[in-house]
Symmetry: C2
């Protein structure tokens, strides 16, 4: 009877493996995406809010390709930007309104206020990660206007 069981068992095992593989892969991908999101959120908090460039750069990989047209390239450019914030806008704060993850990319929708009490700026940041580390950054920033054409806010 055991001999008769084996083929069916083998077929069932093969089907189980075939089904388990994509599920496991999806779970692993999901876990990596959440790890990417956490890395970017930590980078942002350490850098933009705590203004600790070294702590932020722990989340950066072997390069930091900068597309923000006001910042110099690389991690040295990031250090300079954080030093500028610490010096000129020590009370600046960036509030992350929502975050998105798609594979190797993490996207943040941010309300940045340099001087407390001012309207501030709407920003979207896009980060690319490799092996869980940030390697590239793009952003777009727009001052929040005084008289918007609708009552929904920019967020």
């Amino acid at each position: 009877m055991n001999a008769l069981f084996r083929p069916r068992t083998a077929i069932a095992a093969a089907i189980l493996l075939a089904l388990a593989a994509p599920a496991a892969s999806a779970a692993s991908s999901e876990a990596q995406q959440e790890a990417n999101r956490k890395a970017v959120l930590a980078f942002y908090e350490k850098g933009l809010n705590q203004k600790d460039a070294d702590a932020a750069l722990a989340y950066v990989g072997d390069r930091y390709v900068q597309h923000n047209p006001n910042a110099a390239d690389g991690s040295e450019g990031f250090r300079k930007f954080i030093a500028f914030l610490r010096d000129k806008f020590p009370n600046s704060h960036s509030e992350i309104k929502r975050s998105f993850v798609d594979g190797d990319h993490v996207i943040l929708h941010v309300h940045a206020v340099r001087e407390p009490g001012t309207r501030g700026t709407a920003i979207v940041d896009i980060f690319k990660l490799e092996n869980g580390k940030i390697v590239e950054h793009w952003d777009v920033a727009q001052p929040i206007p005084e008289n918007p054409a609708n009552g929904n806010t920019m967020f």
Copy 2:
């Protein structure tokens, strides 16, 4: 012998179902996300490039909550914006550089040029969808500067 097979078969079937469910759900979610991306890309092409508000609004649901501070709320605000583009900037063109999808949200990174030959504007659009239709829109826009601090472009 068949009677002896049944429990094992039942257990195998139960395991198969348990494993198949997340895989099928992931595939369905993946398909919905790709459908969301396609809907947003079509909306953008019909609206911003072909300047056909009616064709674009076919991808919009029962509401269009507008967070762009320069546009009136709702689909009527969108119609006015497209009419403005058609009238003032008939040759304007928006090139989608990259798109991202996270669940119900689709994010576009766009290079918009109102007058051909000018540097144009970097934009990130965020769309929220419900049941495959667009229901909410945020964006952030920044003119591309003449002399960027790095050579990587804003894209």
